[in-house]
Structure formats: structure tokens, C-alpha cells
Amino acid sequence: MATQYDIPVGAQHISLLEPLHFKLTTENEKIVDVQANVGYVHRGIELACTSKFKFRQVSFVVGRVCGLCSISHTTAYSQVAEKLLNLELSKRAKYLRILVLELDRIHSHLLCLSHVAENSGFEALFMKTMKDREISMELLEAVCGNRVQYDYSVVGGVARDLRPEVAQMVLARLNDFKPKLDDLREIFENNYSLSLKNRGIGVLSSENVKLLNAVGPLARAAGVPIDVRNETEDLLPWKEVGFNMVLGDAGDVHARNMVRIHELYNSIQMIENVINGLPEGDIITETKAMPEGEAVVRLEAPRGELFHYAKGNKTQILERLKIKAPTFSNIPAFIETFKGNEYASAPAIIASFDPCLSCTAR
């Protein structure tokens, strides 16, 4: 038996945006065992949401769980609070939520793709992808008023209406973006150097996806059709605005890249459908009711299934709020995926998971 070495990655590492610690046990360059420490970013948001903040303020606090998918958290919380209040939203508010959710998905997926390129050693592609990502950031700023923390969904609806000139700008900029996305797809699909670092690396089989309950692009790249947008229709009308499931088959880093890129095409299509078919109505529904009972909400964040559980007791302060982030479900799958790969592939594999530790630890 060859000697085994423990090699740490993190908590501070050039390839990681966040403090995440992996201890990789290697044998002849092959990773044989992994230990993950994901608790560096634990702040205690669940307690603060049920003690310090009133239930209408909580939608702003849960946005600070994660800056990458803050709209997913605020929307999921707003939906669960609306269920506790028995509130029915106007169709316009639902469409506007879909608009920002999909714009957010574009920026998040492009960030992940650029990160995979950088960690595979392709610096020029990283810069190119980040340059194209700025289009989605500008659109988010025009629609919501801020580049990162949008606070767009509030309990009862959305915070800002979409002005006609902004809607025209979104359509025009997305038209500019399409040829750039074609370029990116061409590089990610066919570039020989990148394929050496991505094809056949970090394979997660569909059996393991189901066994370990993985979610999001990680599961879809292995061919498992799990997408909350496909499964629920009652809270947001996904099928109506043209959602299509994107599936891969190989389950490796390359398949995850391709799933993300094809989801971008679908997101652009959905945004166009939302803007062209935006119904009239109020953007916010007022109520004086207090949250009562318990409710759950599932929502598809860029990284996978987001789950909120809330329990109210007819006061301003909630009794319990439980947030389950997508990366939290994927940790067992991460550990399984590393095994059998070379140590040098570890950064690219980590980036292809698109981990979000501030969601996981909260």
C-alpha cells in the first residue's frame, strides 16, 4: 500500500471565494478520502429571524443569507409567509418575481462557469465570461436598483414595478447577449485544452445522485430530472412562461458546464416571454393578518432546490424558520465525487459544484 498524505484545501485558498475547508487524503496523487468542514460562515440567522426581526422584516434578513442567490431566499421566504397569511398574489407580481429569478440565474451560472474556467487554468475564458456577466448585472441594477442585494420580493408582492423603458432595455441587451452566449457555448463545448481538464473529471453517476439526494445542476448533469420549476405550478407559473428541463448524461464537469449554458438559453427565453406577456395588476397585496400555522415552500435556486419551513403563532415574531439551502443537500455528493480523481483536478471539481457556503452554514 502506498503512503497516504493529507492535503488541506482552504479555509483561505486562491480558488475559493469562501472559507471552505476540505481535507483530501491522497494516495499516489489519487484522492481516496475527503473530509469537509463547512461551518466557517455560520452566523445564526435562523435565531435572529425568530427573535429580533418582525416577520415583514425577515424577508430582508434572509436575503443576507446569500448574496449570490438573495432573490431566491427572499422569494422563498415571501412565499412561505404568504402561505401563513393565506394571501393570493396578483399575476403581475408572480411574473416580476420570475423575471428577477431568471436574471439572477444568468449572473449566477455565468459566475460559476467563469470560476470553472479559472480553476481549470483558462484565465482568458474567465475574463471573457466575467465581461459578459456584467450585462446581467447591469440589467439587475436597472430592474431592482442594486447590483447584488436586490430585496425585490417582499411579503405580499414585489418592491418595484417594471417601467416600460427598462423592459425595452432588458430585451435589447439580451439580444446583444445572445451571440456572446453562442461564443461561450462554442468554447466550453469544443475547446480542446479545457476538455482535458473537464471531460471525464469528477463523475457523479445517476445512481449516486438518487442515493445521496443531490439537487440542482449537479443532479441534472447526471441525467436525473429534478427541478422544482418542473414539479410545482401553484406558486409561480413556470410552465406558462416556457420552462424546459435541461438534462446532461455524463455527470462530469463538462456535463455540468453544458447544463448551465443550456439553462441560460432557457432563462433568456423565459425573460422574453415574461416581458412580452406581462399582465396588468397590483404589484403588492396588502393584508393585516398575522402569520399562523405551518407551511413549506420549495423553490429552484440557481444551485438547486431551496426549502423554507416556517411556523407562525399569530404574533409579529415567527416561532420557527428553517432554511435548507441547495449546497447543504449536496455535501454528501461532493464527498463522493472527489473520490478517485487526481488531486490536481480538485479546484476545477470544487468550482463545478458551485458551492455556496454562506447558504449552507447560515
Binding site: 445521496l212 430530472p225 426549502f307 420557527r320 447543504f328 455535501i331
Partner: protein
């Protein structure tokens, strides 16, 4: 999205979930504990199915604080993450789960319990 609630007890929990959970049909979401006050805990396990429209199934069991809760890791291979987190935050006693997932070793008490 409908939610089905199934009442169970800690003794029959493993048999109930073992009979319900099929790897190809169901997806384990998360485990959750709610402090009901007065040393009573409401323990919940959430599952959803891959069908459309999906259905969320919640197994729920009431227990006193301090009673050992059986681990479902032998049935659902990825349940250890949710269990490790609850050991830290709710101070519950779950079979084979250790402290230290998100909190420091020297952290005193359980932050999400009503009586600290």
C-alpha cells in the same frame, strides 16, 4: 405543492420511513426540530417525490428533550448532514451524530432552544 403529514413515534420511525422511502421515487429534503416549549420537541423529516406535480411528505414525531432520536442514516444515505446540524443548533441527542458541525467545540448551550 401539497403536503402530506404522517404522525409517527420514535420507536416506529425507522420502520415507517423504511417502508415509505424508495431511492428511485423519493428525495430526502431535510430534517427539522421545532421547540414547542415546556421541554417538548416536534421532530420532522421532509421528503418529496420526483413526480409532477410533486408532493411533500412530512413525518412528525413528538419527543421530550434529551431522549435519544434514532438516526435514519442507514435508510437515507445523506441524512447525516441534517442530523449533525441539528445536534449543534437544537441540542438534541441523535444516534451517531457529533457536535462541531457549525459551532465551536467550546460553545455553551443550544442557540435555537427556548430554554438555553
Amino acid at each position: 405543492m401539497s403536503m402530506k403529514k404522517i404522525e409517527t413515534t420514535l420507536e416506529t420511525l425507522k420502520a415507517d420511513i423504511g417502508a415509505f422511502y424508495k431511492v428511485d421515487e423519493h428525495h430526502f429534503i431535510v430534517m427539522n426540530v421545532v421547540d414547542l416549549g415546556g421541554n417538548q420537541l416536534d421532530i420532522q423529516w421532509f421528503f418529496s417525490d420526483y413526480a409532477q406535480p410533486c408532493e411533500v411528505t412530512m413525518f412528525t414525531a413528538k419527543a421530550d428533550a434529551g431522549v435519544q432520536i434514532p438516526s435514519i442514516n442507514s435508510i437515507v444515505a445523506s441524512a447525516w448532514v441534517a442530523e449533525a446540524e441539528l445536534v449543534d443548533l437544537m441540542g438534541v441527542n441523535i444516534e451517531n451524530a457529533q457536535k462541531g458541525f457549525v459551532l465551536e467545540d467550546d460553545f455553551e448551550g443550544s442557540p435555537l432552544r427556548k430554554v438555553k
